[in-house]
């Protein structure tokens, strides 16, 4: 198989685009796709400083690499989940990446914020670990961005992640989740930062190939708590569809974003307020993260914030 651009031996076949690229032209393709995502959704401007949430995996480190190479001002944010060896190795990958590129890396420990590392959170609350982990990540990303003066957080969600999330939401007709699914989540409150997904146009295979070709040392091993996760089952089902019908995932996600998402956008306004415990934004009196932390610590959340 030959590169569509130069005719050299191809390194990667992109069946959904009915094309193939050599290493050099694939890297160019990948960066163009990120630039197109940023431009199309006005994710951030050239002068904004971007906080990149990094896990040590292929997606987030590939994203950070692209943004650095494109000349953006960035810092990384690593959330230490406290999952034993997995967290130690993933943090080391992020620290090495940041150090070799002269970038700042912020580190937040979930155990400090919620009262216990993720494995203990699961035992204390009997919540699925991915659920508590996702909630903690979203909360801590926003809190860290506010504390350090960032207006935008970029995450490494790729096309497969987004298609699997959409698939799960459709299976259960979670209309609120469908309304929220977007490459950009706008800052709808002064204490919410914008969240963007510049890799949403690129598949998991493509982010892995980019990381490999750029010699990024990422953690290949899967999070031990992801085994058996529903999102993995959805991804596997979609990959079977993709094998039989290249472009199926792309068409599913992009068709939704272009033609269906608007139908789910809520017409009624959601009232946002500040959590009585921590001051972060929530729709109720106490935010979901503080409720989780209270369960972990074995106490009900208390209203400790002084009256204004």
């Amino acid at each position: 198989m030959k590169c569509r651009r130069c005719g050299d031996r191809a390194a990667l076949e992109l069946r959904r685009h009915n094309t193939a690229f050599c290493a050099t032209h694939f890297v160019e393709f990948f960066r163009r796709q990120v630039a197109e995502a940023v431009r199309r959704h006005r994710m951030f401007g050239p002068d904004e400083k971007i906080l990149v949430a990094v896990s040590g995996g292929k997606d987030s480190l590939a994203l950070w690499d692209v943004l650095i190479e494109a000349g953006y001002r960035t810092a990384g944010l690593y959330l230490d989940l406290g999952i034993d060896e997995y967290s130690r190795e993933s943090r080391q990958r992020c620290e090495t990446f940041a150090a070799t590129r002269g970038q700042e890396l912020l580190v937040e420990r979930v155990a400090e914020a919620v009262g216990a590392p993720i494995p203990d959170v699961q035992r204390a609350t009997r919540r699925p670990p991915c659920s508590a982990c996702g909630l903690s990540k979203r909360y801590l990303m926003n809190r860290a961005a506010l504390a350090h003066g960032f207006e935008v957080v970029a995450t490494g969600h790729n096309l497969d992640d987004e298609a699997a999330t959409l698939f799960g939401s459709v299976l259960h007709w979670q209309t609120e989740a469908l309304a929220r699914q977007s490459p950009v989540l706008a800052a709808t409150h002064p204490k919410l930062v914008r969240r963007v997904k510049p890799l949403y146009r690129l598949s998991e295979l493509e982010t892995a190939a980019y990381a490999f070709l750029r010699r990024i040392d990422y953690i290949v091993e899967e999070c031990p708590f992801a085994r058996g996760a529903t999102s993995i089952a959805h991804k596997e089902a979609l990959s079977r569809l993709e094998e039989a019908s290249p472009g199926a995932k792309h068409n599913f996600l992009f068709g939704f974003l272009d033609r269906a998402r608007a139908a789910f956008e809520r017409t009624e306004a959601v009232t946002l307020q500040e959590c009585a415990t921590c001051g972060q934004v929530t729709t109720g009196e106490i935010c979901a993260f503080c409720k989780l932390a209270a369960r972990v610590r074995g106490a009900e959340p208390a209203s400790t914030r002084p009256d204004p």
Binding site: D161, E222, S231, S239, E243
Partner: protein
């Protein structure tokens, strides 16, 4: 040739000159769910590989709620 698979990590011996696509099918690996790595290069599924090669089929799927 030696084929290295992950999650869990294991090695499989494959005999003879074969196309990567055939090896994936024999091992039950869905095309597009792994990087096909030989040394420091990526291969496409139509590439021919032989007895002296070492292939790594590196999964690309990451999961959980992100």
């Amino acid at each position: 040739m030696k084929v290295i698979l992950r999650n869990p990590r294991r090695e499989v011996d494959v005999v003879g000159r074969r196309r990567v696509r055939e090896i994936l099918a024999d091992l039950g690996v869905v095309q597009g769910t792994v990087l096909i790595i030989r040394g420091d290069e990526l291969l496409t599924a139509d590439a021919m590989v032989g007895d002296d090669d070492v292939l790594e089929l590196r999964p690309v799927m990451s999961g959980g709620r992100r």
